[in-house]
């Protein structure tokens, strides 16, 4: 009786969920490639997804069928969850993996596991302290940090007080930006004083907002410029500056990455510059490099996807527009 009921309930479940997923769409002979981001809700990752889809479409059109599986950790920014995703797809024996590691050490073993299972891994976005990957396709984050530092230094005329609110511990990409920023100031702008550079914002906008408020309540009266190493910190810091009436150019803000909100802030003049990566290109080249590697072609161990500095003045140029408003719908559909 009991087991019957449980069984009936579960069978019902299968019909509810199973039917929605069109059985039989499993790839017919093509390569199956899983792309594993750090999270799925940030707009940055959606652009990566769009780039991967673009590669899928182009490869399929060129007679090389590829199935892209997009799978982020169930809980964002949870190392253990990302390891689970990597392990699950190793066990599933996909043909290859494109991974943006959440941590440059914790993901070493899963990537080596993939290597032992003969599944090549292309690392994107953020580094890994291992050599067992096929290629590393990412922005030169250190250079991006230096660009941000140079622009802020110029805006401040070479002297003043600046704040650096770091992103999160163990995130290699943002740490490089932070180091690039600090090195640029130290070498080329000796008149600028860094008030604080040891605070971490944390993974979400909410945490970053609180951290920004705390930092500004201490240094709000003396600060002239702020560097924010990623999108969530940029948006939250700008919001916190608006709260205390110091936005709009009184405190110069240089951010990193884009989102709807940070572009709005740039347009309204609350943010003076955004260092912008090319996530669509990163997703695209990540998949392309992996497919080349699977085809036995030699691939470079390090591929740079470039950064540019976007300001209010140059943001309307067509090149910048393509970067700032990538055609996500074209690749992802409207559902995403």
């Amino acid at each position: 009786m009991k087991s019957l009921l449980l069984g009936a309930a579960c069978v019902a479940l299968v019909f509810v969920f199973g039917c929605g997923s069109q059985p039989g769409d499993s790839s017919g002979g093509g390569l199956s490639i899983v792309v594993i981001p750090k999270g799925t809700t940030h707009e940055f990752w959606k652009s990566i997804h769009a780039g991967a889809k673009k590669a899928e479409q182009e490869l399929s059109a060129a007679g090389q069928p590829v199935k892209i599986i997009w799978k982020g950790p169930l809980k964002e920014d949870d190392r253990d969850e990302q390891i689970k995703v990597v392990e699950n797809f190793i066990a599933r024996e996909v043909d290859g993996m494109v991974l943006a590691p959440l941590d440059d050490k914790a993901l070493i073993r899963p990537v080596e596991t993939a290597a032992n299972a003969d599944i090549p891994v292309v690392i994107i976005d953020s580094g890994l302290q291992s050599e067992k990957y096929a290629s590393f396709v990412a922005t030169d984050n250190y250079l991006g940090g230096r660009m941000g530092g140079a622009h802020l230094g110029k805006l401040l005329g070479g002297n003043g007080n600046v704040l650096l609110l770091r992103y999160a511990v163990g995130s290699a990409s943002t740490t490089k930006r932070e180091n690039g920023f600090l090195d640029e100031l130290k070498e080329n702008f000796p008149g600028i004083k860094v008030l604080s550079s040891d605070q971490y914002a944390g993974a979400t906008r909410d945490l970053a907002y609180t951290a920004s408020q705390n930092l500004l309540s201490r240094y709000g009266n003396e600060v002239n410029g702020v560097f924010c190493p990623n999108e969530s910190v940029s948006v939250s810091m700008t919001k916190a500056l608006r709260d205390i009436g110091k936005a709009g150019g009184e405190v110069k803000v240089i951010g990193f990455d884009t989102s709807v909100q940070s572009l709005r802030d740039l347009e309204s003049g609350d943010v003076q510059g955004l260092v912008v990566q090319n996530p669509v290109k990163m997703g695209y080249l990540g998949v392309m490099t992996l497919v080349d590697h699977l085809d036995g072609k030699p691939v470079a161990k390090r591929i740079d996807t470039g950064v540019v500095l976007v300001t209010r003045e140059n943001m309307t140029e067509p090149d910048m527009q393509a970067l700032l408003n990538p055609p996500l719908e074209k690749y992802l559909g409207t559902g995403n």
């Binding site: 169930l74 914790a106 032992n116 299972a117 163990g170 971490y200």
Partner: protein, 332 residues
Amino acid sequence: MKLAQLGSRDFLKAVRPFVGLFVVLLLFAVDAELRSLFFKGGNFKTILTQTVIVAIGAMGMTLVIVSGGIDLSAGSLVALCSVVTAKLIEHGHGFAAVLALTVLVGGLAGLANGGIITAFRMMPFIVTLGMMGIARGLSKWLANNQTVNPDEPLESVNRLMDNSQSPLTFFPLPDGVWLALGLAVLMTVVLRSTVFGRYVFAIGSNEDTARLCGIRVNANKIAIYALAGAFFGLAGVMQFSRLTQGDPSVAIGLELQIIAAVVIGGASLSGGAGSIPGSVIGAFMMACLANGSGIKDWPNYMQEIIIGVVIIVAVGMDKVEPMLQRFFRRGK
């Protein structure tokens, strides 16, 4: 009050978690795409490895829940103990010392839980909710707000959860899986056949009656929470081994997964019912669901909804069955 009969409800109830697992596996077998992807030795090794932390936590949690309590500090204690493990390795301790001291730290935190609950007659929910914050804070403080990466890794600890050498075959299983299986057998015996185990059921069934029967309820409760803490400590060692680093922000919400595993395994949150094999199967079933819906390329929100529905369905059977039985009886 017959101690021997406590908790040993009818046979059907005992096998229900197994039936649930069987049904889940059956569902995966029905799906043509999943059948070929899911039923592979390497995949089962992966799932077993992913189950270890929740399963070890669930053994401790089963004791607490059967005794009529709850422990919300489990996830935070796992994080704290993963940091403690990292710190101990940094100080150059060997395998046995790392394991023993970490388990001890977990046990002491559990002792504090049990001590406060009994001494001040406070609700376990509140006390362990407080401990959840305290342990999370302590782990961040101890780790200086970042992950702790020992310069000289201790291979024996790292190997506990390592399946990197042969990812595509079922054997050899990582040491941690064997350890968890061994502990499951041991704890099953402890809970079913020892005086302490029977007391746990007695306290959970009716605390006042247990006291009147001469059971030292407070001392046993403290022992239960301390033992549970020790299990969370061991789970912390496993968590360290998985990440090969101590991470103060790991295992957020793990306590809810552990509680779900225990409840799917047939335990009642009002105490007096539950079993170790059931809880372990519950943990395994949830890992199967996560793995299956993960590799089947469902979006994450779908996966969260499915697991949520399964928890309610699995536990809801408890309430629906008597209702239906009454209904059918009336119909005759």
